[in-house]
Structures are given as structure tokens and as C-alpha cells.
């Protein structure tokens, strides 16, 4: 009994998450031209859960998120140390192809970025270039339904995606990512450019998607993190201050800094 209590109240909350962890961040540091943006961060991403990354601007959460599917490869002078393990393989290992990583770990960006093409092509392009040979029509419909966008766009699939509203565009980007059937979906402040109604749409959607997908979301919105996520990582100035179950982080944070941040006393 005492031993269990000791485990439960241990500051090493990572042990809870790593049990069914699909992605392990282990002692990761990231540097922009030698300047550290992320310092020795370790935590695990649990399967079929939503993990939120919160913290003030410039704390390194987006940088860390982008390293999870090697989108940071395109930034010159960026170096990364430590291990990010996915399916037992280090994502940055020599034998690992970054293109394959991004195919399996999808991403939705801060600003909606649909291709300047039709709604249909936006969805179908990703699977096709990755060798998908099945019927595109079904795939497009399924993806749009998953992203709760089908009813709004089913009559104009072949019109330009740029004619959609901001919220619709972001759901299209989610549908586009889902069409690849990724293992993990990374979301970099997906609602920051949207109004409250569109935000609510997308939050609802994420809770539904949880059944089939693992989601990591960066957000500036405390309420959003507490509503949506199962686990929360709080970062500040490149350091992971605290990681644990969202409930615990928001009600009984172990660190003083976390408490100050989640209660809105700074940041």
C-alpha cells in the first residue's frame, strides 16, 4: 500500500504515461545555431490519448512538437540531441527516412494551409503520392466525414479550398491529415486563428478522433488544454517544468511555476 502511494505521488509522473506510450521523448535538447531552445526534455506520448503542451510563447513547445515528425529538418542550423523513440526506433536514426516518418505522424499547422486546389484534391493528393491505389472518392468522403466537414462541402468538392471559411479550412487540413491514416496527429495551436464556434467544432472533433488516433496538441489556451487533454506537459524557457495527468496539473500541480501559469498569474 505504502509503495503504491509512493509511486502515485512520485514527482516522476512519466511512469504513468509511458506504460502504453507510443512515442517516447527521452532527454531531448534542440538548438538553433547553437542556442538551446529545448533543454533535456523527457516524457511519453500515450496511445489514443490527447497530450497537451502548454507554456508561454517561446518556451520551445512548438519546436519540440515539430521535432516529433521531423518537420524541423527544413530549418537550417537546427540540431537535436537525445532520443525520440517511435515503435522502438529512434526517429533520428540513420536508417530512418524522414518522409516515412511524416507519412505516419501527421501534422496540422497553426494557420490553415490548404493547397490552392479543389477540396477533393486537397484530400486525395497525400494518399496518391504515397502510393494509394484504392477508390479516392470513398477516401475523400470518409476523411471529410471524420473531420465533420462532409455535410458542408459535399456539393462543392471540386471547388477551390480557398473559398472555405477559416474554420472550414482548418477542418479540411485535419481531414487531409486523417486521409493518410496516421498513427499520431500533431497539432500546433490549431485553433489560434479561429473564432469560438469553429474552435468548439474542432475540439469536439478531437475528442471523437481520440478513439482511433493519438493526438499531441500545442495550445496557448488553458481552458482548451484542460477540456481536451488527458496529459499535459508544461514548459518554460525550454525546460519541461511538469508533466502529468491533466487533472492533476490543473488542480494539484506539483511545481509552484505550473500553478502560477495555469491559474493565470503569469504568461
Amino acid at each position: 500500500m505504502n509503495a503504491l502511494e509512493a509511486v502515485m505521488s512520485s514527482p516522476l509522473q512519466t511512469t504513468i504515461a509511458t506504460e502504453d506510450s507510443i512515442l517516447d521523448i527521452d532527454d531531448v535538447s534542440i538548438f538553433y545555431s547553437g542556442k538551446a531552445a529545448v533543454n533535456n526534455v523527457s516524457f511519453g506520448i500515450s496511445k489514443n490519448k490527447i497530450t497537451a503542451m502548454i507554456g508561454p510563447s517561446g518556451c520551445g513547445k512548438s519546436t519540440l512538437l515539430r521535432s516529433l515528425n521531423r518537420m524541423n529538418d527544413f530549418i537550417p542550423d537546427l540540431t537535436i540531441s537525445g532520443n525520440i523513440t517511435y515503435c522502438g526506433q529512434n526517429l533520428y536514426g540513420k536508417a530512418v527516412d524522414a518522409v516515412e516518418v511524416r507519412r505516419r505522424i501527421g501534422m496540422v499547422f497553426q494557420k490553415p494551409n490548404p493547397f490552392p486546389k479543389s477540396i477533393y484534391k486537397n484530400i486525395a493528393w497525400g494518399p496518391i503520392i504515397n502510393g494509394f491505389k484504392g477508390p479516392s472518392d470513398e477516401l475523400v468522403e470518409r476523411s471529410l466525414r471524420q473531420a465533420a466537414l462532409w455535410d458542408e462541402v459535399k456539393d462543392r468538392l471540386h471547388e477551390s479550398a480557398l473559398g472555405l471559411s477559416g474554420g472550414q479550412q482548418q477542418r479540411l487540413c485535419i481531414a487531409r491529415a486523417l486521409a493518410m491514416e496516421p498513427d499520431i496527429l500533431l497539432m500546433d495551436e490549431p485553433c489560434s486563428a479561429l473564432d469560438p464556434i469553429s474552435t468548439a467544432h474542432i475540439e469536439e472533433l478531437l475528442l471523437e478522433l481520440k478513439a482511433n488516433y493519438t493526438i499531441v496538441i500545442v495550445t496557448h489556451n488553458m481552458q482548451q488544454a484542460s477540456r481536451l487533454s488527458d496529459y499535459t506537459a508544461f514548459m518554460e524557457l525550454g525546460d519541461l517544468i511538469e508533466f502529468g495527468e491533466t487533472n492533476q496539473i490543473f488542480t494539484r500541480p506539483a511545481q509552484h511555476r505550473t500553478e502560477e501559469y495555469v491559474t493565470g498569474r503569469f504568461g
Binding site: N69, M71, F74, P76, V99, E100, R102, R103, R104, G106, M107, F109, K111, N113, P114, F115, P116, W125, G126, I129, N130, S160, L162, C173, R176, A177, M180
Partner: protein, 296 residues
């Protein structure tokens, strides 16, 4: 002082008037300069039309050059120019666009690449006669391509490649980074991203650059004379290895003759050259408009 005094209000109103006057003056100046350029062009066009228009008939288009002005025409020059421009487009567009794509999408920022970039910018400013000398030395003599259409087209391609590359790079730069990231995040390779998204989105801009460059090539005379485009051709080129003449060479030749009639023939030739240019530009605008509409 919580309220401005009456004196301040008066002076600021006066000041405002003065500022508006200044703005108006500058606007008039800019408009004047714009119209001056357009007016000069119109005068030139008028002069040329007056001189050349009555020579412009089917006989002029369909005859070979002759030493009798009334029999002379631009058939071989017009066909030569069309040959030349097709060959130049065939050579310079793939090479230019591929270079731009490499520099913008694939290359690392190494010292060698920076050197290449710098030199491309420099090459755009090299006088055309210098390209003529290079063409003569390399294509005509060293590669033994003779004074053929191919030699001319290769020389002209060298001349306009910097323009095409620079314009294409600018067009490629305008494609937002977020579009590339969207493609990469779906597991696209650099090539798939470039081919499916970057090129189509930058196509209108690339096309504008290409047309400007080709227009320049159509009007260039010096390099062609240098590599030996003939001035009197009484046959039509049948293949890229044949000798040729082109509109600017023919015009230059007529202008340098003493007789008044030949000067008027030159004016008629200029009108034809301008018409070819206009048609090319019109075609480009149509294609551009169509692709831009598709992107929206």
C-alpha cells in the same frame, strides 16, 4: 493645456493645406513622367507606321529579300525568327526553370551555390555582343555547329537564361512556405512538393519572366550578326542545322542601305516584328489568366 488654442488650429489647417498641395504636385509629376514615356513610344510607333505601312502587304510577307525594293520581302527573316524563337524557348525554358527550382528548392546554402547565384545576377548585365563572341568561339567554331539556327539559338539562350532564372526564382519565392510544409507533412518528397505545388503556384510568374526574356531575344541583333546570321537568304531553313536570317538582321541590313525605299521597308519590318511580339505577349496573358483563375 487641455485644448489647442485657436492659433494652433489655424496654423495646422494651413499646414494641412500645404501638405495636400505637396502631395498633389508629386502626383502630377509622376503622372507626367508616365505619360512622357508613353507619348514618346506613341510618336515612334506613329513614325514607323507612316513610313512602313504602305509597304505592308502579302507580297512583303511572302517574298524573299531582293535588291529591288518593290520585290523585296521578309519571308526568310520571319520564318527564321519563328524557328529561332521556338528553338530558344525549347532550350532556355527547361534549363532556366530547372536551375531556378534547384537553387530555390533543393540546394543547400553552400559557398559554391552562393557563387553561382552571384554570377547569374552578374551575367544578366553582360552586353549582348559578348554573348555573340562566346557563341562564335564555342558553338560555331569549337563545337563546329556552323552558322546554323542551333548556334544562334544556343547563343541567345545563354543571353536570356539569367533573366529567366532570376524571374523564375522570384516567382518560386512567392509560394508561401506553409504550402510546402503542408505537402511535406503528408510525406511528400521535395520533388513531389515542387512538382505538384510549387511549380503550378509559381507558373504565372515564371511565364511572365519567360515571355519578357523571349521578347528580348526576338529583338536582339548584335549576337546574331556576330555568329553570322546571314543578311541575304533566298531560301527557308528546313532544319535546325540550316543557315538563317532573322527579322532584326534583315531590318538592320535595310536600314544601312542608302536608298529611301529600303528605309521604308525597314519600317515595315519593324511593324511585323512588333506584331510578332504583341502576339506572343497576348498569348502569355491568356495562359496566365487561365492558370491564375484555376489557382483561386
Amino acid at each position: 493645456m487641455t485644448h489647442p488654442t485657436q492659433a494652433f488650429i489655424d496654423s495646422s489647417a494651413k499646414h494641412l493645406q500645404r501638405r495636400h498641395r505637396k502631395a498633389k504636385c508629386f502626383q502630377l509629376f509622376c503622372a507626367g513622367v508616365t505619360w512622357l514615356g508613353a507619348a514618346l513610344l506613341l510618336v515612334l510607333l506613329y513614325q514607323v507606321s507612316v513610313e512602313g505601312f504602305r509597304w505592308l502587304d502579302w507580297q512583303f510577307i511572302s517574298s524573299f529579300p531582293s535588291r529591288f525594293p518593290y520585290k523585296a520581302g521578309i519571308k526568310s527573316a520571319l520564318v527564321g525568327t519563328l524557328w529561332l524563337i521556338s528553338l530558344i524557348a525549347f532550350i532556355s525554358i527547361p534549363v532556366g526553370v530547372a536551375t531556378a527550382l534547384y537553387l530555390e528548392e533543393f540546394s543547400k546554402k553552400s559557398r559554391l551555390n552562393r557563387l553561382i547565384e552571384l554570377n547569374i545576377a552578374n551575367l544578366a548585365g553582360v552586353p549582348s555582343i559578348v554573348y555573340g563572341i562566346i557563341g562564335l568561339a564555342v558553338f560555331v567554331r569549337a563545337m563546329d555547329l556552323q552558322r546554323s539556327l542551333v548556334s544562334g539559338a544556343l547563343t541567345m539562350s545563354l543571353l536570356i537564361l539569367p533573366v529567366i532564372i532570376i524571374a523564375s526564382r522570384e516567382a518560386i519565392k512567392t509560394v508561401p512556405m506553409s504550402t510546402r510544409h503542408a505537402a511535406f507533412a503528408l510525406g511528400a518528397t521535395r520533388w513531389q512538393t515542387a512538382w505538384a505545388h510549387v511549380l503550378p503556384a509559381s507558373f504565372p510568374g515564371i511565364l511572365t519572366g519567360v515571355i519578357l526574356a523571349l521578347s528580348r531575344a526576338i529583338g536582339e541583333t548584335a549576337p546574331l550578326i556576330m555568329i553570322g546570321g546571314l543578311t541575304y537568304v533566298a531560301f527557308l531553313p528546313e532544319g535546325p542545322m540550316d543557315a538563317f536570317t532573322a527579322l532584326p538582321i534583315q531590318i538592320y541590313n535595310w536600314v544601312s542601305r542608302p536608298q529611301q525605299e529600303f528605309h521604308q521597308l525597314a519600317a515595315a519590318g519593324i511593324i511585323v516584328l512588333l506584331l510578332v511580339l504583341l502576339m506572343m505577349n497576348a498569348l502569355a496573358i491568356v495562359i496566365r489568366h487561365k492558370t491564375e483563375k484555376k489557382l483561386k
